[in-house]
């Protein structure tokens, strides 16, 4: 292997990108847009579900519940007439309404607390905060009596401020880098083939390993810059929860980027046009989004799908990134050693596969 020839390929690749503004934007602006959007989507929301409250209780308890609900930050409570409730659910002005019936207090004294909850029901996501608000109201009403309900909550990981973005953020850092690096590598390598320059490279003293290595180094430079950018943006701007070592997060991202580069080179051998290359996205990327634990924990998947999850590189990267960022794992953790080891293993296998499938001869 000649370092000089490898460097020539790497240099040429970077020269090409220097002039290709659009691809540079995809590499360095798109991740910020995607992550920024995700952050805004999760944390930027100020409106809480609108809930109507109809208090028909002849005793005291209904009013106590109603005022507790009005104080809740989970919902926006308004007072309504029970008879208007269904119409308001239908026209979409409310997602739920709660009725405290006339006998609410008297039944409560007999041992049954029975508010009526009417849910719009077509959007499961909006029902949960209503139920949660009702439970909080129950807790706060109970606290006014002789018995106080004060659970002492302790978190092993995360904390009271740990939210959805903290959970998704860790996984998305790995995914965004993986996805964009993969797409750019597969298309760039395919261009080499379709514009005929690969044939010229094959008719030169270049070794196949030198071509793959040169490409890998060039894309790795770009991927590392992108990884660093994504990481700084996530931690400094989005303030994604991080308990672990930043260098370690960067190392896992970089390993993931390297895997993506080599997967791109390898799969480009099986595509003849850019159009065919793009067809690998639903085939390679979508299953990883669904099954790598970004959205749903792997442990809750049906068993046959867990088998699939276990052979996807992104599963290990996501797990590793979450362990570091959420749980503060370091390399003394055996789970992190496994995750990093498997991603590195995928990377090596793909390098070998890429070199092996890059054919000098057409037939």
């Amino acid at each position: 292997m000649s370092g000089h020839r490898v460097a020539a390929i790497t240099r040429r690749l970077l020269q090409q990108f220097r002039r290709d503004r659009r691809t540079l934007a995809l590499l360095f602006v798109a991740p910020l847009v995607i992550l920024g959007l995700l952050g805004y989507l999760i944390r930027g929301s100020t409106s809480s579900p609108a809930v109507g409250i109809a208090n028909e209780d002849q005793g005291q308890l209904g009013a106590m519940f109603a005022s507790a609900l009005e104080r809740s930050s989970l919902i926006t409570a308004t007072t309504i007439q029970a008879s208007d409730g269904d119409a308001k659910l239908k026209d979409g002005s409310l997602v739920a309404y709660i009725v405290f019936p006339a006998d609410f207090s008297s039944r409560a004294q007999a041992g049954t607390i029975a508010p009526e909850l009417h849910l719009e029901g077509s959007q499961p996501g909006t029902s949960a905060p209503v139920l949660q608000a009702l439970q909080q109201a129950l807790t706060s009403v109970a606290a006014t009596g002789p018995v106080h309900f004060e659970p002492q909550v302790h978190y092993l990981y995360g904390g009271p401020g740990f939210d959805t973005l903290d959970y998704f953020g860790a996984a998305f850092i790995g995914f965004v880098v993986f996805f964009l690096v993969f797409v750019i590598t597969i298309v760039a390598f395919l261009n080499e083939r379709s514009q005929g320059t690969l044939e010229r490279l094959m008719a030169s003293p270049l070794r196949r390993g030198e071509i793959v290595m040169g490409y890998m180094l060039g894309f790795t430079v770009l991927a590392l810059i992108q990884s660093a950018e994504v990481l700084v943006f996530s931690l400094a701007v989005l303030k994604v929860h991080n308990q672990g070592n930043v260098i370690l997060i960067f190392a896992i991202e970089a390993l993931m980027a390297l895997t993506a580069v080599n997967l791109g080179i390898f799969l480009s051998m099986f595509a003849r046009t850019e159009f065919q290359a793009v067809q690998f996205i639903p085939l390679v990327i979508v299953p990883q989004v669904l099954l790598s634990g970004i959205l749903f924990p792997v442990s809750t998947e049906p068993k046959p799908l867990q088998v699939v999850s276990d052979v996807l590189p992104l599963t290990y990267a996501v797990n590793g990134l979450r362990d570091v960022m959420v749980k503060g794992a370091d390399l003394t953790w055996s789970s992190l050693q496994l995750d990093a080891g498997v991603v590195a293993g995928f990377c090596v296998v793909l390098i070998v596969a890429g070199v092996a499938t890059l054919r000098r001869r057409i037939a």
């Binding site: 000089h4 020539a8 240099r11 040429r12 030169s204 003293p205 057409i362």
Partner: protein
């Protein structure tokens, strides 16, 4: 040591699926000559050139280039290959393209300047290839093929899209390179170019129909021009 033959092709067969691309080709190309591969589109010229650089593996027969059996990756540093389409990096400048091919073939910076002068692109060295005309791209592609001063230069239809004036200059350059010992193999379907070659191989259906200097080929067919000679020889074989 100078080999008697720069390229020695013995009984080469190649099938692509059901298509017989090369059908028992024998060619012996002398060092320092300009050899023309002449034939219609689809005759097997490009496949033959690819077999010479080792990109096509023959089903049978042997290809020896500069005394070494192909495929031989190290031997490729002595070979320059200009593909049919101007295979260049459109986003790079003329100079960057030639520098890249210089680097992977072990040539120096002076060679880049020299190659650009030869194809008369030294005043456009900073231009991005995507902005060049077809003829200029063709010249840049030629510069990339000869920047490392190969002993064997393979040119697959090099003058397609090149204006007549430049074509004359190209051929002057080819002759000069041949005189200094470079062997040049040019494929073409333009008969007027064939006249400029020292020897010709007429190819059709993957076979060499006739071989010799332009005069010998004309004499063989008993015609006064190469075009008629080709048609007559092709017709004789087909029937």
């Amino acid at each position: 040591m100078a080999e008697a033959f720069a390229v020695d092709i013995e009984g080469v067969h190649k099938n692509f699926g059901g298509l017989r691309a090369l059908d028992g080709v024998n060619l012996h190309i002398k060092t320092g000559e300009i050899y023309g591969l002449l034939g219609p589109n689809g005759a097997g010229k490009t496949t033959l050139i690819r077999a010479i650089v080792g990109l096509v593996a023959p089903d049978a027969g042997t290809v020896t280039v500069l005394g070494r059996r192909m495929p031989d990756v190290d031997n490729l540093r002595n070979v320059g290959y200009m593909t049919q389409q101007a295979a260049l990096y459109p986003g790079l400048s003329v100079e960057e393209n030639v520098q890249f091919f210089a680097a992977i073939n072990g040539a120096e910076e002076e060679d880049v300047t020299e190659a650009l002068k030869l194809v008369r692109l030294d005043d456009r060295r900073k231009s991005v290839v995507a902005t060049l005309s077809g003829g200029m791209r063709q010249r840049c592609s030629l510069a990339c093929a000869l920047v490392h001063k190969p002993k064997l230069l393979l040119l697959d239809e090099p003058t397609v899209g090149v204006d007549p004036q430049l074509r004359v200059q190209f051929w002057d350059d080819f002759r000069r390179m041949a005189a200094s010992g470079t062997t040049i193999i040019v494929s073409s379907h333009v008969m007027d170019e064939a006249e400029r070659c020292q020897r010709l191989g007429l190819i059709q259906y993957g076979r060499v129909l006739a071989e010799g200097s332009p005069n010998e080929v004309r004499a063989l067919a008993g015609t006064s021009n190469l075009e008629e000679a080709f048609l007559k020889l092709a017709g004789a074989k087909a029937s």
